[in-house]
């Protein structure tokens, strides 16, 4: 395996390496404008859950009816599993994230002995209206001030412009890397791509950019992959467990529409201004919990075609409600053979799902 890919895969979704003296700020959700953290010289670390560890503490504070990924993140925060964090930005990308924020805010108030880091809500909203843009800009001004406090210095316009350019460059590289798995035969699996994207959310932007550039240079050495070309929709995946389980069954995930995959990097900011940044985050998507059924179906249809997908799979984690409402329209929009895997356990497929996949792909063992 070429060196850059090996390094990126080794980083995975775990906590970042030691990054020198820069304070680490954890963040939840793709709606957090990491540009401010980079501009302030802070190290952003996107938080993921861990399906293999129990999330008892998270269940206790959040209830068992909420997305288990969020319950796992809260548990890991309480266990100090991410290493020392100097701050925490939580976006409102879905209901579970918002409730995670409320729980953290209240735990800091009533149980200060838990020593949770200071937490700030990033309330990016997504209706396509000017009123919403104005609101998001007001919220970004707050984030900028909070980040400045954490960094001990104000975030100036020049530093912000540089950070916007740096993150746009990273996004452009991710889009080029993603095209490697669209090739026939593919040069990256879906599992690898998801892991590469995750690694870039745990690395400083400069380091991530350098590794992706190296990966593209070494692309010719990458092995080739075959399989039923699947477009994956539904819940976001904060770990590669489900991708690996699907690809073990002979599928090849050539694209997805969640914000730990293609939706993270497709939309650039463009102009180096705070106004452009606000619009970038407001209009990024369409994600399942925040977009209309119509916008989501149109996007899925288009994206599945662009990927040359042969089938559509919707994986909906238990207590992640939005994807199941989207599915009927997405199925119609893609016109592909498709399957809904509803109410799945966190980080795994249940037996019914395995059966449904066999029906979608009866000769899977043969092709593999």
């Amino acid at each position: 395996m070429p060196a850059a890919l090996a390094q990126l895969l080794a980083l995975g979704t775990g906590p970042g390496e030691a990054w020198g003296p820069a304070p680490v700020i954890g963040y939840v959700g793709a709606d957090v404008p990491v540009e401010y953290l980079t501009a302030a010289g802070l190290h952003p670390l996107r938080l993921s859950g861990n399906p293999e560890a129990p999330h008892t503490a998270g269940d206790r504070y959040l209830g068992t009816g909420l997305d288990p990924a969020a319950r796992s993140v809260l548990t890991r925060l309480l266990d100090q599993d991410y290493g020392p964090l100097d701050g925490l930005l939580v976006s409102r990308d879905c209901e579970a994230s918002l409730r995670l924020f409320y729980a953290l805010r209240e735990l800091r108030r009533v149980e200060p002995s838990l020593t949770l880091p200071p937490v700030h809500l990033v309330d990016v909203l997504h209706l396509p209206h000017r009123t919403t843009t104005r609101y998001v800009r007001a919220k970004f001004a707050q984030v900028r001030a909070t980040v400045g406090t954490w960094a001990g210095r104000t975030v100036d316009d020049a530093a912000l412009a540089d950070a916007i350019a740096a993150h746009d460059r990273l996004r452009a590289l991710l889009t080029r890397v993603a095209s490697l798995r669209r090739q026939r035969p593919a040069r990256l699996t879906g599992t690898e791509m998801l892991t590469v994207v995750a690694a870039t959310t745990a690395l400083p932007v400069g380091r991530a950019t350098a590794l992706l550039e190296q990966l593209l240079k070494e692309a010719g050495e990458l092995p080739q992959h075959e399989g039923l070309r699947v477009f994956l929709t539904g819940s976001p995946h904060d770990t590669p467990h489900v991708y690996a389980a699907l690809e073990d069954k002979g599928l090849l995930i050539v694209g997805e529409d969640h914000d730990r995959g293609d939706l993270l990097h497709l939309r650039p900011t463009g102009a180096p201004t705070e106004a452009a940044l606000a619009e970038r985050y407001q209009y990024n998507g369409p994600t399942a919990p925040r977009a209309s059924i119509r916008a989501r179906a149109a996007h899925t249809g288009r994206a599945a075609r662009d990927c040359g997908a042969e089938a559509l799979v919707s994986y909906a984690r238990r207590h992640d409600e939005a994807p199941r409402w989207d599915y009927a329209a997405q199925e119609a929009a893609t016109g592909l053979p498709s399957v809904l895997l509803g109410r799945q356990p966190y980080g795994a497929l249940d037996d019914g799902a395995a059966e449904a996949l066999t029906a979608l792909c009866p000769h899977a063992e043969v092709t593999r």
Binding site: R60, G63, L66, R109, V110, L121
Partner: protein, 420 residues
């Protein structure tokens, strides 16, 4: 004491009559809105656009035992039948091949649907409404705040700008201006500022009556009415708020309670334990609330319906549109988001001098942990009942009764002293 409160019967009768009139008015078409419970209905009231509250219709369908038929209609379209049912059941009426067989003669077909984009799935239900021919969906943003002042109930009536936050209010006011323009254009009706001011005033008057009623019940020993009578007496006028009927109904409810207090009427003259019920109503078994009166002298004196009417709606100010935005920009936070929810329940528990709290915790427990924690920290005993409020299948009724009965047995005098 078994005679039903007149105001509860009157409200129920009014609702039926009103609905029949609505159906007659819309027989030849006309504008009609279906709106979510926590959306700003006052705009429709002002413009004279009739509306029905989505969740109210859902409860009618459920009470008439048609919920499963409706859920089947969703399932047949590949839609979930086990997600947000309380909001999704009315959507199925759009797919009903036999709409005339529906309860109360059926829900007229809306031309406008209004909802906030709360949660992850509830807006999708309205997306589907918006795809129906002749129906427009107007979505409202739902924003959240980083820091909130804790004792919101003291600030809300007049100092709501501080309680809710200016960014949220700017956003919601902008959204409401957009809604008004949208309704002016699609219905050709007028939004009169004068009429709007009247509507806002009527709503405030109505909630002031509810506030007095709540305070009467809080102070009364023994409790003058069962909690299941207070629910229709408050909620039906709530859906009609902004009318003189609703204001007068709230006053009549107050007067009736005051009369009972004056004459010493009691649910149990030998009231020994005063209880608070936190959570949505146990719709599949409303008699549950009365099951412990005889055995333990235990009376439920509190449910959120009257209390939120008393504390959650009042908004005064020179700018009625911004005041209306303040009524809805943070509405669910009052009930479900700590610290607001947790501190408010503690305040209400003390105000009513309850000896214990039965806290209905569904699997999807919004802030429940923090509510229980806050009550216990205040020395008030809490029993968490883990059950769903609408899905009887998930709850073992006898088991719930036993659990509450056993717990009541443990509420000793010393507990009560600590809780008071």
């Amino acid at each position: 004491m078994n005679a039903r409160l007149n105001s509860a019967s009157a409200a129920t009768a009014h609702q039926r009559q009103w609905f029949a009139g609505l159906r007659a008015d819309l027989a030849d078409g006309g504008d009609f809105a279906l709106v979510n419970a926590d959306a700003p209905q006052e705009i429709f009231r002002t413009m004279g656009i009739p509306y029905v509250v989505n969740q109210w219709w859902s409860s009618i369908v459920t009470a008439k035992r048609r919920a499963q038929d409706y859920l089947e209609l969703l399932r047949a379209r590949g839609l979930p039948d086990d997600s947000e049912q309380y909001s999704s059941i009315p959507l199925a009426s759009a797919f009903d091949p036999d709409p005339a067989s529906a309860p109360w003669g059926g829900l007229p077909r809306p031309t406008i649907v209004l909802a906030e984009t709360t949660g992850d799935a509830s807006r999708k239900i309205f997306d589907l409404w918006g795809d129906q021919p002749g129906v427009s969906f107007y979505p409202l943003e739902s924003a959240a705040e980083n820091d909130v002042p804790t004792r919101w109930w003291e600030l809300m009536p007049r100092d709501w700008e501080r309680a809710v936050g200016s960014d949220r209010l700017d956003l919601m006011t902008g959204e409401l201006e957009g809604l008004i323009r949208f309704l002016e254009q699609t219905t050709g009706r007028v939004f009169s500022e004068t009429r709007f001011a009247e509507v806002m005033e009527l709503v405030n008057e109505q909630q002031e009556w509810n506030r007095r009623t709540r305070d009467l019940i809080a102070r009364a020993r023994p409790c003058p009415l069962p909690v299941n009578d207070s629910i229709p007496s408050v909620m039906i006028p709530q859906w009609h708020r902004g009318t003189t009927w609703a204001r007068d109904a709230a006053r009549a409810f107050h007067d009736e309670v005051a009369e009972r207090v004056a004459s010493g009427t009691a649910v149990r003259p030998d009231e020994r334990l005063r209880l608070m019920w936190i959570g949505r109503g146990l719709w599949f078994d409303l008699d549950f609330y009365r099951r412990f009166e005889e055995s333990h002298g235990a009376v439920f004196v509190w449910s959120m319906y009257l209390a939120i009417a008393a504390d959650g709606y009042l908004r005064y100010g020179d700018d009625p549109l911004r005041a209306l935005a303040a009524r809805f920009a943070a509405f669910p936070d009052q009930l479900y988001t700590p610290p607001w929810s947790a501190e408010w329940y503690v305040k209400e528990a003390r105000h009513h001098g309850v000896d214990g709290v039965v806290h209905l915790v569904s699997e999807d427990s919004r802030g429940s942990y923090f509510t229980t924690r806050a009550l216990e920290a205040a020395g008030i005993p809490v029993l968490e009942l883990h059950a769903d409020n609408v899905d009887a299948r998930a709850a073992d009724g006898d088991g719930l009764t036993r659990t509450v009965g056993d717990w009541l047995g443990t509420l000793t005098l010393s507990d009560r002293a600590a809780g008071g």
